[in-house]
Amino acid sequence: MRKIRILVAKVGCDIHERGALTMMTVYRDAGMETIYTGRFQSEEGVVNAAINENVDFISVSDLTGSLVIICKKLMDGLKEQGAENDIHVICGGIITDSDREQLEAMGVLGAFGTGYPAEKTVEFIQDYMKDKLD
């Protein structure tokens, strides 16, 4: 069985990196193949990297409260390139209840607030992928 592949992403000028770094090590410790984009990326760049790296998930972290704006562009970008069924988006950071509704509506699989237990995010991904790893 192959390993889950995941791209940890940061978009724009949000410098808060600790959440992204934490998730990177948590995914790695859980046996996933993990890649980190680094900070100051564009949505287009993240989508391209996700396709080139053939990942299952984009895990985007943002602490500015702008995940709705970022995820909308990521979802649109994936659709444009016909990758929306192969690459899934989850996000973490500052998320309000209304953000959560909008994120769900646009097809973001999971939205996890700051302090959400990292191991639960891992379980969520593993659960989702359990029948999909040939």
Binding site: V11, G12, C13, D14, I15, E17, R18, L21, T22, T25, V26, G38, R39, F40, S42, E43, D62, T64, G65, S66, I69, I70, K73, I94, T96, D97, G113, T114, G115, Y116, P117, A118, E119
Partner: protein, 567 residues
């Protein structure tokens, strides 16, 4: 409720006991400290009275009895109007130290019309792209006699916004020598923690010294650098590494200034920003230890002759990282203890985080809670009546000595590795930060470090907590962002291009030819030069791309202004 009553009740007297035998920074502690643990400490040498070398017990003889710490927090909402309004309210309620910030794109050195600006524009603060925004933000607020602090992540912002206030004062005919405050402008922290793309470390180090030199001459009450330990600490460093970073940057800055013919006595007291973490005694000991260490470094190593130059003033930002999104009401307890540790540690200014900070930008009421907590500590708990009230505690004095020892070893290692700039370039500082960050993360996952409401004592959020979660400040809409770009374009179009381009040329040439860049920057700012322009033109002076993110070419009008020089 009825169902749960049927559950069997197991009451264990010893459940939920301590899980640690070490502090947050992994300093192992005994169960009791006794006189022999601090037997080596001679009172005059190790402590001294408050106001006397080595200032372990505080910088001033009467401490808070004479003058309380400055009460501060960052105020920067999405618009200058809201921010101005908030400043007025907070000042009315006891805030007396105005801490300024801008949104994240400005802090990265780019203007709102840059494509990378969109998703974080007006987030974390205002888009203070040029002087028009500052004038609106500070409308009606006195510029003389007020203490300002610039909390921005990078060196370019500290210089830009100091220049902004100077330009505003000059326009109004005010005396700039009365400008008071400080900017962080720490070249190490800008890269170590933020990887700030605006300028390279080579540029940061040089223009920072230009800025210090200029400020010493023209705005002598402005401390143009305040080495920052808060962010390295939030990034993973422990307490003694945090103060080690501050001391290393402070020491290197004084050495660099010496090469320009400026002595530590000319420079005067040093100021720094430190983190107030959750570990109560360790935090208090850290403040006492760093004052003593700087006094010795300044005197023994850097040749300070005046008492002032041996003093390290401590400004605080309480730990944002310690605040949790689960059951945010608990953050009130965390912040209160952190503020208390600052007062017991004798700091000079406190910027306390807000209970809703893990949820969003702090709301008005959460900020008021911070001020009121400080008023309660002062007027009801009577904590500041006596200077260094914990001085002489066996445990605290032992911990102060211990932190000093550990910090000294860290500083020695930085020196052995070629100094703080070398340690940044090689990535060693980053590795130190990363190693400790991972250690803490694993301890939390393994239940060796309990965070209440997160990995232990979880419970449910009730209506009070839910309300806190829902009242945090909301991010600006996309329409507001579009309007901001429109406003920028209109502002740029209305500038006096002849005068502005002249400033561009001066800034470019001063950068390239090694003159002090400060005056050209201030003149440019007065003419409406934007953040992105200032950053870009200095970059051109170093023969690197105008755009820090390498997404855009040099704008045509900048090329036009500099056409004599750009090949």
């Amino acid at each position: 409720m009825a169902e749960s009553r049927k559950e069997e009740i197991n009451l264990d007297r010893d459940a939920d006991g301590l899980v640690r035998d070490a502090t947050q920074s992994h300093i192992k502690v005994k169960t009791i400290y006794r006189p022999e643990d601090i037997a080596e400490d001679q009172y005059e040498e190790a402590l001294g009275d408050p106001g006397s070398f080595p200032f372990t017990r505080g910088l001033y003889k009467e401490m808070y009895r004479n003058r309380l710490w400055l009460k501060s927090f960052i105020v920067s909402y999405a618009t200058p109007e809201e921010t101005n309004e908030a400043f007025r309210d907070y000042i009315k309620n006891g805030m007396n130290d105005l801490r300024l910030l801008s949104d994240l794109p400005i802090q990265s050195g780019i203007d709102p019309d840059h494509p990378a600006s969109w998703n974080s524009m007006m987030c974390g603060g205002m888009s203070t792209y040029a002087i028009n925004v500052y004038e609106k933000m500070l409308e009606g607020i006195p510029l003389e006699g007020v203490t300002f602090e610039l909390a921005h992540q990078n060196v370019s912002c500290s210089i830009f916004f100091h220049g902004m206030i100077v330009a505003m004062m000059e326009k109004r005919g005010l005396d700039v020598s009365k400008l008071k405050g400080n900017g962080i402008a720490d070249p190490i922290r800008a890269k170590l923690v933020y990887a700030s793309p605006d300028w390279t470390t080579e540029i940061n180090r040089r223009v920072c010294l230009d800025h210090i030199e200029y400020a010493m001459k023209h705005t002598p009450k402005w401390k143009a650098i305040a080495p920052n330990g808060v962010d390295p600490c939030q990034g993973g460093m422990n307490a003694y590494q945090e103060i080690g970073m501050v001391l290393a940057v402070a020491r290197q800055t004084i050495r660099d200034l010496k090469e320009r013919g400026i002595s530590i006595d000319d420079f005067g007291s040093m100021i720094c920003s430190l983190d107030a973490e959750s570990d109560f005694f360790e935090t208090i000991a850290k403040f006492r230890a760093i004052r003593r260490m700087w006094a010795h470094i300044a005197k023994d190593e850097l040749g300070a002759a005046t008492e002032k130059a041996m003093m390290l003033k401590i400004g605080i930002r309480t730990s944002g990282l310690s605040l949790q999104w689960q059951k945010p009401l608990n953050n009130a307890a965390r912040v209160t203890l952190q503020i208390l540790s600052c007062v017991l540690g004798g700091v000079g200014s406190i910027d306390a985080s807000s209970i809703d900070e893990a949820v969003g930008l702090p709301s008005y009421e959460a900020r008021m809670f911070n001020l009121d907590t400080q008023h309660i500590i002062t007027h009801e708990a009577n904590v500041p009546l006596v200077a260094d009230p914990l001085g002489g505690s066996y445990y605290l004095e032992w911990m102060t000595d211990k932190i000093e020892k550990e910090c000294q070893a860290f500083l020695d290692e930085i020196e052995e590795r070629g100094g703080v700039y070398e340690c940044l370039e090689t990535g060693w500082l980053n590795a130190v930060m990363e190693e400790n960050r991972l250690k803490i993360q694993r301890e939390k996952a393994e239940g060796k470090r309990l965070i209440i409401g997160v990995n232990s004592f979880k419970g449910e959020s009730g209506p009070i907590n839910k309300e806190i979660e829902n009242c945090a400040y909301k991010v600006p809409t996309e329409q507001m962002r579009t309007d901001k770009i429109q406003e920028l374009n209109e502002f740029k179009a209305a500038r006096n291009t002849e005068k502005l381009y002249d400033c561009f040329r001066r800034l470019y040439l001063d950068t390239k030819e090694g003159r002090n860049v400060s005056r050209a920057m201030i003149d440019g700012i007065a003419e409406g030069m934007t953040m992105g322009e200032m950053v870009g033109i200095v970059r051109l002076g170093y023969h690197i791309s105008y755009d820090p993110l390498n997404m855009l070419p040099t704008p045509d009008y900048v090329k036009e202004a500099l056409k004599e020089y750009l090949s």
